[in-house]
Amino acid sequence: MHAPATSALLENPFAKRRSHRETYEFIVRSVLRGATYLILFATAAIFLHIIVKGSPILFQAKAPFINVEFLTKLPETLHVLEDKQGHIYKTDPKGADAIKHQLGDNLRQEKTISYSGGGILGPIVGTFLLVLVCIVIALFLGISSAIYLSEYAKPGKFIEWVRLAILNLAGVPSVVFGLFGLGVFVLAAPVFTNTPLDRALLVIPLGFTQMSFQGWDTSVLSGAFTLAFVILPVIITASEECLRAVPMGFRETSLALGATRWQTIWRSVLPFAMPGILTSSILGIARAAGETAPIMFTAALAFKDKLPWQGEAGFGGVFTESVQALPYHIYTLAARIPQNEYSERAQYGSVFVFLVLVMTLATASVLLRRKLRAKYKW
């Protein structure tokens, strides 16, 4: 059966069985590895494509090396004029008139491409405002409710139902959130005014002014609240986990020293849960910045020729004006205008800037978390 032990070139008695298993192992490993590399490939393809096509629009060889115009001008219509000699002039509406006048009869054709000229300052500012306000609202509401659920509420059937409801919120399609925002924040949320609109659902006189349920219109505030509700489930669930990860001993010690419940939470639970909460919020930030559906009914316009603070209310109107937003702008550029070689510039430029913006946001959060983590580790 077995080869004699004297031979130095013994055949491995287990060789056959092992090779069979090895084949099996090899197949499994290849499938797993293949799946991983496929994802890696897709990610690399997306990033490389955007970087290759988008970076030449934002960066240039001459000083100041960045296409400042693209970042500091509002979107405008691009005019492309061609004369009979085949020269092509790309310009804005004003320039188009001048060139037409200069060329006279020599003009062969003129093309106009909406939103593809100028820069994308409007969408950048809009997205920035939306994300900023959204994060403030979502963190406040999310952390408050997470603290209530994990520190105050008595465990039981009811709280389990509340948790389930919050988790279900995460499964709601984002366009439904958009419509919810439209119905609640745009059309029904309360405002204080002396002159309520006719369509107000309810007007409560307060003496010095009136509370009118007429909504906040399409505005940064409406959009930010809607976005906040989109990311709340993530923030609540993750915050609760982070709060639970803080050792019970911290709470008991604090209480045993005569601290009230809130003092205990504020001084010896929340600070130690904060790094984790911020980490989980990174996902929320990126998602809030990227969502299109929730803001298209509540905050974003396809085109607006003014920045939020250039309206009638000045800087006071920053949160109550409608804005342009990057994801919606990208959608508009990709789906709402005819495609040709001249529309690419704004398309790839916007996507590239958007990508950089989101990555910067995420990096900032990671750095903040690392700083907090170093301060509060146990």
């Binding site: 050792p247 001993g249 911290f250 010690t253 045993a256």
Partner: protein, 282 residues
Amino acid sequence: MVTAEPPQKAVEVLKTTETKSVETPEAAPTGETMISVRNMDFNYGTKRALHGINMEIPSRQVTAFIGPSGCGKSTLLRCFNRINDRIAGAHISGGQVVIKGKNIYDADVDTTQLRRQVGMVFQKYNPFPKSIYENVVYGLRINGVKKKSDLDDACEYALKAAALWEECKDRLKANAFGLSGGQMQRLCIARAVAVKPDVLLMDEPCSALDPIATLKVEELIVDLKKDYTVVIVTHNMQQARRVAELTAFMYLGELIEFAETDQIFGNPQQKKTEDYVRGQFS
């Protein structure tokens, strides 16, 4: 059930020169009853954990609770500052716990006030991940003490009381997690002492420490009884012999015997106590 009269040992209350800037806490004279447990029952939900406990714990002495695991000694200790209130369903179902003449389970008792007077040190040393200084003054800060000199004084007093001053005075701002296990536990004691409670409850304070650190903490406990009433739960019978004047033996939620430590270990009156201290069950 035997409830011995607490022995009236005369213990000289010395005020060391080191702590002269801080007055000793107002406490009943040595030997007078500090905690009086009267026919107390305690439940976790419907399960009764303590049955009809009666005991008088004298002030400025060390009282030890011994007994096998699950006998209720920690539960009893945790009744004294109502930290058990945190556990869902845990409640006192009969009798009273009277501390300084007041039933602490009365409806009008403010638990935060109670816990300022009845401090606690836990089994697992658990400093906050903050500086040594911030750990010690935590109790003062939550009481609204803001003046730096007050905080500094309290910190020095507490660290001296916990025999940690010499080791830590040069690195008060360092993170408490840089200390050794024994130092961390003494820091926790300092943190409890900083608010100057009347009573110090210790729940197996040495079970996570090595023998040398244990010895230091034990010395400290003996030292602390000058100013504080100390109640200690311990698994270690030798430790009870070393530190406690009085020892209570508990078994299955009942107080079997409560007497002077020498008597519990030398001449126990109950068969159960005798079996336990002889190591015939655990």
